[in-house]
Symmetry: C2
Subunit: 198 residues, 2 copies
């Protein structure tokens, strides 16, 4: 195994560990034992436990962003729904990873917080693109509403994506309508979905 | 000053300290120096720094819940709007306290987390009452939507309540419409605000 492959293996083990325990409980020693290497080698690759955590969160975040990358070939409203369908699938398949990311937003570790904030910015950017394309004017309150909706979606996904009583399609449709509902809440005169077939 | 008055004074100083620094940076020693008493006396009243933090957060939370207590004499939709108007006023007047409460939701201290979770439960309960009174059927997704909307409102208030470009009434109206929008997102056939004049 090359040094790069070894590092990737260790990060992958760290991401997998999030299924059992929170990030703070993932230690250099545990990971070394799981990989059958010395703690010194883990330290060599990541510098410290903080460095290890930072890489684990970055890799988990990139997996989430990759799974929810919008399809540029779709028109805005279909693109939103398609992205949300895949988001629900991602969270139901990787619920512990997603919870770790959501919790990481309030981590005591600044690098972890910045990594998660980047994900929120990317997700807010996708929705900002949709709003722009359907003709919603950018205002300070729209910007606050975009970020607020990201928090809304995080909470709804944490609570409902693995709830067997909630069909995945129903959750995705609820998230879609609530995102478009932000526009209606800003511009009460506009019926929901108006202008979305441009 | 009686022991109870002294304790209240120390907690009040602790809540006031949140305007300058995060909860984690509020120490027994600083507070003792501000109150002109010995650190031993602060320890006597709160047991530990954790005990002190727990009391500070509980007092700040109770101030927020008191300021946003719904007026039972109002019909549901007017009650929602009135509560939200007062919520915006509270956050714009006590923004640092509110940020501390929002951040406390992810505190490493279990007592602090439980204190904030209680506030979220109370606020979700107020909205649940409104939804119940206007005839919205309780479902698992409505419950997830209630909690998601609390996260939405927290983020919107953190970002917009002190933004001079956003008039307070506009923010409260946005929050009101977004709360009712949760119902529309759950039951797309229902026009926003339907049934609210019961």
């Amino acid at each position: 195994m090359s040094p790069d492959e070894r590092k990737q293996q260790l990060v992958a083990l760290g991401v997998a560990a999030l299924a059992d325990r929170p990030l703070e409980a993932v230690t250099v020693e545990d990971l070394a034992a799981e990989a059958g290497v010395s703690p010194g080698l883990v330290h060599y690759h990541f510098g410290s436990r903080q460095g290890l955590h930072s890489e684990i969160v970055r890799t988990a975040r990139d997996a989430m962003l990759h799974a929810t990358e919008p399809r540029a070939d779709l028109p805005p409203r279909e693109r939103l729904r398609d992205t949300l369908d895949r988001f629900v699938v991602f969270v139901s398949a990787h619920d512990a990873t997603f919870y770790s990311l959501v919790r990481g937003a309030a981590s005591g570790d600044e690098r972890v917080r910045a990594t998660i904030q980047h994900a929120r910015d990317v997700l807010a950017g996708h929705l900002r693109d949709v709003f722009h394309e359907i003709g919603v004017a950018p205002t300070p309150l729209l910007e606050a509403g975009l970020h607020a909706w990201i928090s809304f979606a995080e909470q709804a996904l944490v609570e409902a994506a693995t709830d067997p009583r909630v069909p995945p399609g129903e959750l995705a449709a609820f998230l879609e309508r609530s995102a478009l509902g932000v526009v209606t809440a800003l511009h009460p005169g506009t019926p929901p979905g108006a202008g979305t077939d441009v």
